[in-house]
């Protein structure tokens, strides 16, 4: 069965994945919208850079992030100067790293979804007095609902499963940065297979239920979308 420690890691995982998904919704949405609407020539560069974290092996990316977030790193100097303290080996360091690493999973599906809306609904909204910001929330967001769900699903699942970056940045500190993926890994490495299987099964089941709920919600016929 699950030990108290295991349950703690699950709780931490849910907290991390939810928080990262939420933060990425907040960060990724304007980025994706900007990528769709902007007419500057260098937006292709930005779009490509956004996807880049994906191509590095997680532990290597983790190492670079650690360099950046460490006391001598640019990010580390910044957080220390602003009184936020040191980020590595803390929960918030994990959050930041996961946000960077999962950014493309949020931005790419939103980009596609926003693009699919086209000009007309925006024009209609403008003739009905909606400001661009208002239009974004009352027209663009509801019309790209499936894109948001896809993005949130990918981000959430990826953050739950992420482990290379998390292990590197988090330092596997119990109750703070030891999330379920790290715990499962530890169990496997320690040849504690039955604990590993149980925890993996619980994570799978939990995630399956989350994904299923999102999916059912998405295809519900009378949602009006």
């Amino acid at each position: 069965m699950l030990s108290i420690e295991d349950i703690q890691t699950i709780w931490l995982t849910i907290k991390l994945a939810s928080l990262v998904t939420l933060l990425l919704l907040i960060i990724g949405t304007p980025v994706a919208w900007w990528l769709v609407r902007s007419r500057v020539w260098w937006k292709g560069l930005v779009a490509s850079v956004v996807a880049l974290p994906l191509v590095l092996p997680p532990s290597v990316l983790g190492f670079y992030l650690l360099l950046a977030m460490g006391p001598q790193g640019p990010l580390g100097k910044l957080t220390q100067a602003t009184g936020l303290g040191s980020l590595p080996f803390t929960f918030w360091g994990l959050v930041l790293a996961s946000v960077l690493y999962s950014l493309p999973f949020m931005v790419q599906p939103l980009h596609t979804a926003f693009e699919a809306i086209g000009e007309r609904p925006l024009e209609v909204a403008a003739t009905l007095r909606a400001s661009p910001l208002d239009t974004f929330f009352s027209v663009v967001v509801p019309m790209s609902w499936p894109g948001f769900l896809t993005a949130a699903m990918l981000t959430f699942a990826h953050t739950v499963g992420e482990f290379g970056v998390v292990l590197m940045i988090g330092g596997n500190v119990p109750g703070q940065t030891r999330v379920a993926s790290v715990q499962i890994y530890d169990h496997v490495e320690a040849l504690e297979y039955s604990q590993a299987h149980t925890l993996a099964a619980v994570m799978l089941l939990f995630s399956f239920l989350v994904l299923l709920a999102l999916h059912v919600w998405r295809t519900q016929p009378n949602r009006g979308y």
């Binding site: 532990s59 190492f63 650690l66 360099l67 977030m69 460490g70 006391p71 001598q72 790193g73 040191s86 590595p88 080996f89 292990l167 590197m168 330092g171 596997n172 500190v173 890994y185 530890d186 496997v188 490495e189 320690a190 040849l191």
Partner: protein, 231 residues
């Protein structure tokens, strides 16, 4: 024929280049290495990995393989790993493990004691100096001894319990300071080697020669030069 393959624990990566060069000179046989964490190699061997010899970072994984019939020789230690304290942030290491409780010293990295023998021995050393409880809040855990080195290297921690083989490697010389952890405070980590069943079936000659070579004087010299204690 299949290339002769030696599965090596991650910490052996750069020693192995020297070993393989010497082995080639002696026998004319090319030894190719496959690097991974010891535990993962053991799992892969159980699933039929085409490895001929296994040089582990401990004795337990080869022991297990031998008992289950995946290895054909009883594990033999070829070298002992030694613990050091390593810092690149200018932390004061002069008081050794006991001095780590000093408030001036921040985070301390050790390898995960559950997974890595180096981590287990690091805890033992802390217990010896009776600072384990005091240090606990400062500890961060690396997946392996290499990750501990990365923590030290990135200066994200002040001090790490690393391996002597790492701090004497050419890649790290001149980076920060290190002090050895006195050997009375822990057990140097025995690293065992076994010939695998796949080796006997496919590359018996090379495997036996390499198994012998690892324990030869030439090999011992290479291990010694690279910061290992000899059996």
């Amino acid at each position: 024929a299949e290339p002769f393959t030696v599965a090596i624990a991650a910490n052996l990566k750069y020693v192995f280049d020297d070993l393989a060069a010497e082995f080639k000179q002696e026998t004319g046989i090319e030894a190719q290495s496959v690097l991974n964490a010891s535990g993962k190699i053991a799992t892969q061997v159980r699933q039929g990995a085409p490895f001929d010899v296994f040089m582990s970072a401990d004795m337990e994984f080869p022991e297990g393989l031998y008992k289950e019939g995946f290895a054909v020789t009883a594990p033999k230690p070829y070298a002992y790993g030694l613990l050091v304290l390593w810092s690149q942030t200018g932390a004061d290491l002069s008081k050794g493990v006991a001095g780590l409780t000093d408030a001036a010293i921040g985070k301390v990295a050790i390898a995960n004691p559950k997974l890595a023998p180096f981590g287990k021995q690091a805890l033992k050393a802390m217990e010896f100096y009776k600072v384990k409880v005091a240090l606990e809040p400062k500890l961060v855990y690396g997946e392996s001894i290499t990750q501990v080195s990365q923590y030290v290297d990135s200066k994200a921690v002040d001090v790490g319990f690393s391996a002597k083989s790492i701090v004497v490697a050419p890649e790290t010389t001149g980076k920060g300071k290190w002090v050895a952890v006195p050997e009375e405070s822990y057990e140097p980590i025995a690293q065992g080697v076994v010939i695998l069943k796949h080796g006997i079936d496919n590359n018996a000659d090379a495997a036996r020669k390499f198994y012998g070579f690892v324990q030869s004087e030439k090999a011992r010299a290479i291990f010694a030069k690279n910061g290992y204690k000899l059996p």
